[in-house]
């Protein structure tokens, strides 16, 4: 099987898997502990508007999706925190409007979008080197944010009220987190597609939660798991000739179910430490 590694597309796919894993491991950890999975799903779908805009103005759709998705994330966050509209409702609105605009933009740009399907469902085998560079750049920004704001993000995720009392500008940190979600969505689009992004964001971190007792450990586990499972999915999709995005997601789901079962079995054996004073 090693001869396939000499192909440029396969090398790019493997690099993409690593880049995607860094983004989804770090950001996914916050998404899971802060319970903003649905919100992140909404942000992911709005990205389609940016892809459409890219086709319309004739630039790389992934590049156009960056500012578009960030603005959408800030929009969802601001509306749900500052107005009477509930977060749930604003997610639904942005989700559908983002998709609708995407379709509209593509229609206006002569309606021909050759690799539209790969943006929706992902195709990790078709990531050009220019997009790898964009993905790497976004990973760097995510890592920087996660490092600089680690304690504040932790404080806000754990106990927002207390964080606010401690003098942290919690609104600002929350919006920063949503921007990180937006960036990670863009990194992941080419691997699994807009529609499946949410699984990559949520599942590795959710599995990692079971084996780690702090955020940093959880990020590490999630990154490792994601690398393992996305490369595994890539390999399976290659040998069975299946769509890569779906294969990766299904492999993630299987891993999640297995880890849940394993934990459930383990619980019966574990003796709870007696609570002493």
């Amino acid at each position: 099987m090693f001869e396939i590694l000499q192909y440029q597309f396969m090398q790019n796919a493997i690099i993409a898997a690593f880049l995607v894993s860094i983004a989804c491991g770090i950001v996914g950890t916050y998404v899971v502990v802060k319970k903003i999975v649905a919100l992140s799903g909404g942000v992911a779908h709005t990205a389609f508007g940016g892809i459409g805009l890219g086709y319309l103005v004739g630039i790389d759709p992934l590049l156009a999706a960056v500012p578009w998705t960030i603005l959408s994330a800030l929009g969802i966050g601001t509306i749900s925190k500052e107005t009477q509209i509930s977060e749930d409702t604003s997610i639904g609105m942005f989700w559908a409007v983002g998709m609708a605009l995407g379709i509209l933009f593509i229609y206006m740009s002569s309606g021909y979008a050759p690799d539209l399907f790969s943006y929706l469902f992902g195709n990790i085998l078709t990531v050009p080197s220019s997009e790898l560079l964009l993905m790497a750049l976004m990973d760097v920004v995510i890592i920087l944010f996660a490092f600089i704001f680690y304690k504040k993000l932790e404080a806000v995720s754990f106990d927002e009220e207390f964080a606010e009392i401690s003098g942290i500008n919690t609104r600002y940190i929350y919006l920063l987190l949503l921007c990180m979600v937006a960036l990670s969505v863009v990194v992941m689009i080419k691997a699994v597609g807009i529609i499946l992004v949410i699984a990559l964001l949520a599942l590795p971190a959710a599995i990692a939660r079971k084996y780690s007792s702090n955020l940093l450990g959880m990020m590490g586990y999630a990154i490792g798991l994601s690398i393992l499972l996305s490369l595994g999915g890539l390999y399976l999709s290659y040998i069975f000739d299946l769509p890569s995005g779906s294969t990766i997601i299904l492999l993630l789901a299987v891993a999640f179910v297995l880890s849940s079962l394993q934990q459930k079995m383990g619980k019966h054996k574990r003796v709870r430490p007696s609570s002493q004073k």
Partner: protein
């Protein structure tokens, strides 16, 4: 010297629904004050006004003679346990250290040795040092409450605010929690919002009965007879060590 907390004729409404009406309220140094009252009586609103999370519609809130926001560093806050996610991946020491981040410049994930020592000291004060590395999801309610207290203490507050700190604790854990507060009041003024009337009579020096208006504010013993007016229903009060009802039901 300015009082620790001073509310001057404070009113507050949420979307034009009045919650507090013309409340005058003072906490002095060394006070251990219990604020009691029914749900919706404005207890948590009072705390949030003192914390500067809410601003009065009318009147003035002063903490150490200044606006609450500018004195936040001197305030330690212990929330209700139910307010946060217990399944969060963090250990006891990590929770306490979160009390050290102020708006400032804390970058990265590591804490200095000095910060860790302070956190361990705060944990020692509340008797939780040996659990420093345990994940909080594996603690009991009483233990979590102590950890949250340690988180508030690490900032060396001069005013400690607690929001129903014992509501989920068994009597034994409640007792030791109050005894701890009793020791702490040497160093700081303490304000507790609670439903726990027996504890109020036993541990608090002062009592505030809040139900929209402030019905009573002063020494605990005299305040007890205002309870029924505050709750607007008959109250049966049983104190620790007193095996019978100490208040007769009256109309």
């Amino acid at each position: 010297m300015a009082d620790v907390v001073e509310l001057k004729n404070v009113s507050f409404s949420y979307d034009s629904i009045p919650v507090l009406k013309n409340v005058d309220f003072v906490v002095k140094k060394g006070d251990l004050v219990g604020v009691i009252g029914p749900n919706g009586g404005g207890k948590t609103t009072l705390l949030k006004l003192i914390l500067g999370l809410l601003h009065p519609t009318k009147g003035k809130v002063l903490v150490f003679g200044n606006s609450p926001k500018s004195e936040r560093e001197k305030i330690g806050y212990v929330p209700q346990i139910s307010n946060f996610e217990r399944d969060f991946p963090i250990d006891v020491l990590g929770v306490v250290l979160l009390g050290k981040i102020e708006g400032g410049s804390a970058i990265g994930w590591s804490y200095s040795k000095q910060e860790k020592d302070e956190a361990l000291k705060a944990l020692e004060t509340v008797g939780m040092k040996r659990y420093a590395n345990r994940e909080i999801s594996k603690l009991s309610g009483g233990q979590i409450q102590r950890v949250l207290l340690a988180r508030a203490l690490i900032g060396k507050p001069s005013l400690l605010l607690l929001d129903e700190p014992v509501s989920n604790l068994d009597p034994e854990a409640q007792k030791s929690f109050y005894e701890l507060l009793d020791e702490l009041k040497q160093k700081m003024a303490i304000l507790i919002v609670t439903h726990d009337l027996t504890a109020v009579t036993q541990y608090m020096d002062k009592l505030a009965c809040l139900n929209g208006n402030l019905y009573y504010h002063g020494k605990t013993q005299e305040g007890i007879k205002h309870l029924e007016k505050t709750y607007q229903c008959p109250i049966e009060l049983i104190a620790h060590g007193v095996p019978h009802r100490i208040l007769k039901r009256h109309k």
